[in-house]
Amino acid sequence: MSALLEIQNLRVTFNTRHGPVTALDSVSLQVNAGETLGVVGESGCGKSITALSVMGLIPSPPGRIAGGAIRLAGEDLTRVSEARMRALRGAEMAMIFQEPMTSLNPVFTVGDQIAEAIMLHQKVGHAQAFRDAVALLDRVGIPSPERRARDYPHQLSGGMRQRVMIAMAVSCRPKVLIADEPTTALDVTVQAQIFDLLNEIQRDFGAAIILITHDMGAISEMADRVAVMYAGRVIEQASADDVLDHPQHPYTRGLISCIPALGKGDTELREIPGVVPPLHMLGAGCAFAERCAHRFDRCDTEKPSLVDHGHHPAACHAVEEGRI
């Protein structure tokens, strides 16, 4: 069975004042219908660039898709026209952004904004689209949706705005829904509501969800499969259970053990020393070597590739040679 969305060896470069840098380097990911893929990593590791590449929203210039393919139901998105991309965007795939306030237009009511998205992709009039918008607001759990549809974004709370974004994103029943840190700006009780809503919507519509997050706890609750990214590469990929219970790459192990868990206190957290290296400073070896406790000479000279070394795919020389 071929995946609904398949990214193959995607390479994205940016021209910067430090010269051209590779933001994504041979990234390969797949998502099936009805499945949630969690993409996890620190800021600057390429999570959002991956999402924007799929949506065809990489600012170009300075950005450029320099190689690879993104196949949505077999169609390569890196080769389609801008007009075709516009037809797909919103209808076949949609994105929920981090900050709902800046992603909504402040001078239109939320009902009109959802109706606009519906009218763009379906042959319906405004009155019907507005009725659909109200039904969607009801579906995403907004109380008194008829009244709220006539509200402007500033009249809604952060959690309600994110619900509006979700209503807009699912208005055309997309096959792929990308959620880029959808709850970072929200309080934890509201975050739980949004996560539960995304799971419900997936059950109803059968959409594939790509959840981008830095939070391993969110991965645990939401994801079926996980891709861990570091410095523009996927360094580990497997089912959520495999990654969380048997992490292979030292970076993944670090990400899991550095979370202050609710279940225990007082023990010292295992830290990952240092920071993510800037992309223009990446050398010939493993990008994580500087911060890695298992570093040996091979790590400085040769980039590890994502290969299964027994358990599931991980890009690490130390794992390959059985040193960890």
Binding site: V188, A192, M216, C258, G265
Partner: protein, 323 residues
């Protein structure tokens, strides 16, 4: 154990814009009769969602926001009664770390000057002593002395937070107020700063008033935890009691909302406590319990009578139906 800080019935009010030209000025009560004590060498966490008043309560404690009423007894002296000069002298003992290490450091000053400035203002030591102290603090927080002459933009977020911590420690404070000190940092960097704060607490015998929305972080750093909702403390307990046997339905909801590695999609978890909606507006707080509208256990009495903090085992809880 000696009590370092004893806050009693602290209330903070903000006047809102006049309604109409001659209308009344409504008052928003951001912090409502908050009381807590902090012992020397311990850390008290204040948790709550945005708008719960946790930051305002801490800021009023150290008089960065003026309180409407209440007492803040710090080492036997009511800070709210001190005149400006006496309060300025007290500030040696009370320092602050902010949430955003990008906006809390002067971008035009070298970091050595940033860290030294509190000593200049308080006229502590000779210039040589101040310089030596800056170098010593740099080592203490895990920075290298050869980085002293750099500017803030040359450091990462985690390093900047180390600089903020060094600056806060220059005057040898007894109390450190930490306002969401790791919220702006990546998870891997959060662990570095949390370990540093835990080490400094033991080595220097510091006390923390630690504000955070992240229960995992609070559990890691704090000995006692107070949970705030709409300006009031709804539950206060030693760490173990709060996390193992939360009494207030809001605390239970917070704990079940926080993402956890123990809940796995593949195992079909169901969130134990679900709450809907947002907190009510603090401008017209409900007459009864502020949480009643969202509470799964709410009865008629909850909407009528405001519950008060009452002891229940090691915990103090403000709820008609705790447990």
């Amino acid at each position: 154990m000696t009590v370092l800080l004893d806050v009693q019935d602290l209330t903070v009010q903000f006047a809102l814009p006049r309604q109409g030209l001659f209308g009344p000025r409504p008052v928003l009560e951001a912090v409502r009769q908050v009381s807590f004590t902090l012992e020397q060498g311990r850390a008290l966490g204040i948790v709550g969602e945005s708008g719960s008043g946790k930051t305002t309560a801490a800021m009023a404690t150290i008089r960065l926001v003026e309180a409407a009423s209440g007492k803040v007894i710090f080492q036997g002296e009511d800070l709210l009664q001190l005149d400006a000069e006496a309060m300025r002298q007290r500030r040696r003992d009370v320092q602050l770390i902010f949430q955003d290490p990008y906006s809390s450091l002067n971008p035009r000053a070298r970091v050595a000057d940033i860290v030294r400035e509190p000593m200049d203002l308080m006229e502590i030591g000779t210039p040589e002593e101040r310089r030596a102290r800056v170098t010593e603090l740099f080592r203490l927080v895990g920075l290298r002395p050869d980085q002293l002459s750099l500017f803030p933009h040359q450091f990462s977020g985690g390093q900047r937070q180390r600089i903020s911590i060094a600056r806060a420690l220059t005057t040898n404070p007894k109390l450190l107020v930490c306002d969401e000190p790791v919220s702006a940092l990546d998870v891997a960097i959060q662990a570095q700063i949390l370990n540093l704060l835990a080490r400094l607490k033991t080595e220097l015998g510091l006390s923390y008033l630690f504000i955070s929305h992240d229960l995992g972080v609070v559990r890691h750093v704090c000995d006692d935890v107070a949970v705030m909702y709409l300006g009031k403390i709804v539950e206060m307990a030693p760490r173990e009691a709060l996390f193992d046997a939360p009494q207030h339905p809001y605390t239970q909801a917070l704990l079940s909302a926080a993402p956890s590695l123990a809940r796995r999609k593949s195992r079909g978890y169901v969130r134990p406590v679900k709450i809907s909606g947002d907190p009510p507006s603090p401008i017209n707080p409900p007459k009864g319990c502020a949480f009643a509208e969202r509470c799964p256990k709410a009865q008629e009495v909850c909407r009528r009578v405001q519950p008060v903090l009452e002891p229940r085992g090691p915990t103090q809880v403000a709820c008609h139906f705790p447990g």
